[in-house]
């Protein structure tokens, strides 16, 4: 094994390691977002928990997948999906919270029973 082959091998393993670490960080943020949706009391706080999903979780998860793929057409498709998520998810959260505010809900006005407001 020459020195160039050794460097290529080290680069490949480093790429896989960085991708695995990024995917694990993204999965941690997605888990926190799911727990927040289940546990928080109000529609406003729940929508705040959902916006963790696109702000950091999807960024780390899809970025890790794109790094694992390398520079191919698949990584370009993954980045297009990431761009569409960043365009779509704030609009969805904005429309949901605006509708809730128009219907008369206010932040912090939820009584502590298990009614899903």
């Amino acid at each position: 094994m020459t020195f160039a082959e050794l460097m290529i091998e080290v680069g490949r393993w480093a790429t896989v390691g960085i991708a695995v670490v990024m995917i694990l960080i993204g999965l941690f943020f997605l888990f926190v977002a799911a727990v927040g949706v289940l546990r928080l009391p109000d529609v406003f706080t729940r929508s705040h928990a959902v916006s963790l999903t696109d702000s950091l979780g999807a960024l780390f998860l899809l970025g890790g997948l794109a790094i694992y793929q390398g520079f191919t057409t698949n990584s370009v498709k993954i980045l297009v999906v990431l761009m569409l998520l960043y365009l779509l998810n704030p609009v969805i959260a904005h429309a949901t919270v605006r509708s809730a505010f128009r219907c008369g809900l206010r932040p912090g006005s939820s009584d502590d029973d298990d009614v899903l407001v």
């Binding site: 569409l84 365009l87 779509l88 609009v91 904005h94 429309a95 605006r98």
Partner: protein, 149 residues
Amino acid sequence: MIQAHDSVIVRKMSRVLIPLIQLYALYVLFFGQQGPGGGFVCGVMLGTSLILGILVFGPDSQPYRLAQKAMHGDGVGLLIFAGIGGLCLIGGGQYLNYSGLTIPGIDTDVERHYLGILLTQVGVAIDIAVTAISIVFSLAFIDDDRDDP
């Protein structure tokens, strides 16, 4: 009855996103021979893009009129699907066996299969899109002159 949405953010972003959705639907339709996708997914995406336009821009807008025009093409998808099958039957094969598809200029077996699958998927896409739009019309635009239940 659906009114137009009055939020500036939702209107602008829908105006940006509806052509992207339709372009991606066509990509899925033509890519469906080498990967995931096909006519069903393309029809769902075309129908939902028009439904998004109806929900955001209201019944006095261009997507509503386009959807009303698209409702007239109700049986075109079924006609295309069964017509390709009938062409295969005329050419001497079984129904929807694309080796018997006789179109002048298409000679090899591979081209016949490619063209036959693509045309049947186009028919499926048209039918699914019209079905989705008709479901939304039936549910959302009920006449207001009935008594309250």
